[in-house]
């Protein structure tokens, strides 16, 4: 028994901020203080508040330390662990809540969250199967194998109302039900861990923080549909997740929770890993299976659906990581419990990755139907530097934007669909007044042009033509008919692409035109970028009344575009100016403006 546990986050965010050094230092200092029999250091998965990493939580009191470096460790060990005096200066200080330091559970960031899929992330050591079992892990698998028929399992998942968390929101139980009756010598259960949307990292956190919950759920799915082999397709860019999955699979096999005759019930199920190699399209289900088979990851036409003819031509179900993470809890606590959270058509909770211009970047899990305002203002802590909230982009390159005027919209599948937006995998990129919506649309199009596999003409060529038009607009060379041309092309690409990538690629354009048409028009008609992003449309000018002639701007201009004599107003030569903004940054008198 340990009297105290030091939990250090070992997720990718905190690890990148140096949490591995913090762990080493804690182990060293605790041993030095002779506390190694009393205090245990645990490397956990993601706590969610990645912006303030590395994060350290000390139990039993739950003291929440943020941005801890190895240099802070001796003080924490000496003061907190040895003398019982928490180190106030290192504790999490919620910006709007005065100076009173709080424990983890009391912060606004966590108070409004309901953690189901992330229930064990940041709580257990993901590299120890015993810790997962200690919090009730593999109980659901035992319950399913010993007391339920496959039909009952499927019914339970159906009743819970769980819908796929990967993007399309198809009812998970229905997917299983369609696959179960198909007879074959082999069936497969696949897990989509090829989280490719830029700005989304909820699946990574589950894999890093609670890998066993995914293994357990896949075994449950295997039992429900009659499959004995599972594959997890995980992207190679997630080295920590891959390492922990490998450890988890090995430990589960050793304890005979994977392999032959699980729980002595005669049910066999095993799981193998397959690594992606950096192709966004492989997040699409048929492309993912083509890739596991060892081919170029191009999508296949449906039907036949994977439930009938999937991986290696056999009946297959494919669910995403977060979807699986919910399954053991649904089995343990019952469908009614899960269905009591969320809204009429969107049950349970959803994990979102908050990024972009927001104070608390990181992972949050909230009941479906939570107003966007709660996410942005309360949990996210608002927009930094007093800037104005402009829009949030959801669903990455397949999604759309929600403008500030819809800040009270309940976030669930159907409300977002009404404004042609999607939850997608759960990425939420917050944008402020300094972001140009045409530029954002162009950014996402660049992404899809790069990632289009090239199989369908509409997607391969259509996205490129749309990008060219957007590029023209951001350079001030657009024509007013370009807006209609974009919309026409968008519809064409949506309707004529085989897979989700092409069908959704035009979404960022459609939604930015819908809500920010005025910005497109300003670029085209007035040759002006209202947010001041599109370089070709900017011009810097010096206000002769404010300019003191200090020459600082002229000395900092990299292309010598500014001329003038000392103590006389200076002038910018627009022919030479490269619009780098150095002059404006350096001016001490606020005399330089950008339009």
């Amino acid at each position: 028994m340990y009297r105290s546990h030091v939990l250090v986050c070992g997720g990718t965010g905190c690890n990148s901020s140096g949490s591995h050094h913090v762990i080493e230092k804690f182990t060293e200092e605790i041993a030095k203080a002779g506390l190694d029999k009393e205090v245990s250091v645990v490397q956990t998965g993601c706590h969610g508040l990645c912006a303030l990493g590395p994060i350290v939580v000390i139990y039993p009191d739950g003291t929440y330390y943020t941005q801890i470096s190895a240099d802070d460790v001796p003080e924490i060990v000496q003061e907190h662990l040895l003398k019982g005096r928490p180190v106030e200066r290192l504790m999490y200080d919620e910006e709007n809540a005065g100076t009173e330091a709080k424990s983890l559970a009391d912060t606004d960031f966590y108070k409004k969250q309901t953690r189901v899929a992330l229930r064990n992330c940041g709580v257990i050591n993901p590299e120890q199967i015993d810790e997962y079992i200690a919090v009730g892990g593999y109980e659901a698998l035992g319950k399913v194998l010993t007391t339920m028929t496959p039909e009952q399992v499927i019914q339970e998942v159906l009743d819970s109302g769980l819908r796929g968390r990967g993007g399309a929101g198809f009812p998970t139980g229905m997917k299983w039900k369609l696959c179960a009756p198909n007879k074959a010598d082999q069936k497969y259960v696949c897990c989509n861990a090829d989280e490719g949307d830029p700005g989304a990292f909820m699946d990574r956190s589950v894999l890093e923080g609670d890998p066993h919950s995914v293994l357990e759920a896949m075994a449950i799915a295997g039992y429900a549909i009659g499959a004995h082999q599972g594959y997890i397709y995980v992207r190679a860019e997630y080295p920590i997740a891959i390492k922990r999955l490998r450890i988890a699979i090995k430990q589960a096999r050793e304890m005979e929770l994977l392999g032959k005759d699980i729980f002595g019930t005669g049910f066999d199920f095993d799981i193998d890993l397959r690594l992606g190699s950096g192709a966004f399209v492989c997040g699409e289900e048929t492309a993912l299976m083509t890739s596991i088979e060892g081919n170029r990851g191009e999508p296949r036409p449906r039907p036949p659906f994977p439930a009938v003819k999937g991986l290696f031509g056999k009946p297959t179900i494919l669910n995403n990581v977060e979807t699986y993470a919910n399954i053991p809890e649904i089995i343990n606590k019952g469908a009614a419990w899960f269905a009591s959270m969320g809204t009429e058509t969107s049950k349970g909770t959803k994990v979102f990755a908050l990024g972009g211009k927001i104070n608390n970047t990181g992972l949050v899990e909230i009941p479906m139907g939570t107003p966007l305002r709660t996410i942005i203002e309360d949990i996210g802590g608002g927009i930094p530097n007093g800037k104005k909230f402009k829009a949030v982009q959801t669903g990455g390159p397949s999604g759309g934007c929600i403008p500030a005027s819809y800040i009270d919209i309940p976030v669930d599948y159907d409300h977002l669909k009404e404004i042609s937006c999607i939850i997608g995998s759960g990425g939420m990129i917050v944008m402020d007044e300094d972001n140009c919506m045409v530029d954002i649309a162009k950014f996402f199009l660049e992404f899809t042009v790069d990632e289009s596999c090239g199989k369908c003409t509409a997607c391969r060529i259509g996205t490129r033509r749309m990008l060219e038009i957007l590029d023209r607009i951001t350079k001030g060379e657009g024509k007013i008919e370009d807006i209609d041309k974009l919309l026409e092309l968008a519809t064409y690409v949506q309707e004529n692409s085989l897979c989700g990538l092409g069908q959704t690629a035009p979404n960022p354009i459609i939604s930015t035109i819908k809500f920010f048409r005025d910005e497109y028009e300003a670029h085209i008609l007035e040759k002006r970028c209202p947010a001041g992003v599109c370089k070709a449309l900017l011009s810097y000018n010096i206000d002769p009344d404010k300019c003191k002639g200090c020459t600082l701007c002229a000395r900092n201009c990299p292309v010598n575009a500014i001329s003038g004599t000392v103590r006389q107003p200076h002038v910018i030569d627009h022919e030479k100016c490269i619009k780098c903004g150095q002059c404006m940054e350096n001016c001490k008198f606020g005399a330089i403006s950008r339009k």
Binding site: T12, G13, N15, S16, S17, L49, C50, A51, L52, G53, G196, D197, P198, G199, A200, F201, R204, A236, E237, Y238, P239, R274, L275, G276, S277, G278, A279, F280, S291, I292, E293, G294, N295, R296, G297, F312, A353, G355, G356, K357, T361, G362, Q393, G396, G427, I429, M431, N435, I440, F443, F444, C453
Partner: protein, 165 residues
Amino acid sequence: MASTISSVPFTGTSEQEAKLKEIIASLKDVPGSLMPVMQQAQDIYGYLPIEVQTMIAEGLGIPLEKVYGVATFYAQFTLQPKGKYNISVCLGTACYVKGSGDIYEELKKRLGIEEGGCTPDGKFSLNSCRCVGACGLAPVMMINDEVYGRLTPDAIPGILAKYKD
């Protein structure tokens, strides 16, 4: 797309070849083993020149054009050798809105190379990458396995100076 034929002469050793053959033998009968073999081959050689692709094709008994097709489809496979220090700048959404484009430009300028290029002394190579998942630290770049977050263009010379040898 970057050039797919490497201009650098192939310098594989017999130990590397033996290791690759061992991997091929162990995975030959596993369904869908081409990608795992190629991933491990890239770990051994650092890249997948045509010589290595030929060994894989012959070893697994599949056409070279299929190996080449897979190698050129996935962004992680590289047909060019990497520098001693490989720099990847994240151009994912979160990093992009926080200015990673400027970081990328600064690196191109400082190193005098373009995307996918390698400095003549073989020291630095430069790539952009999709989201590395450290969005809380945006903008982010990686030099080999070391992550640098909350970057500004001014910080670049100092960071590059750490990789003198």
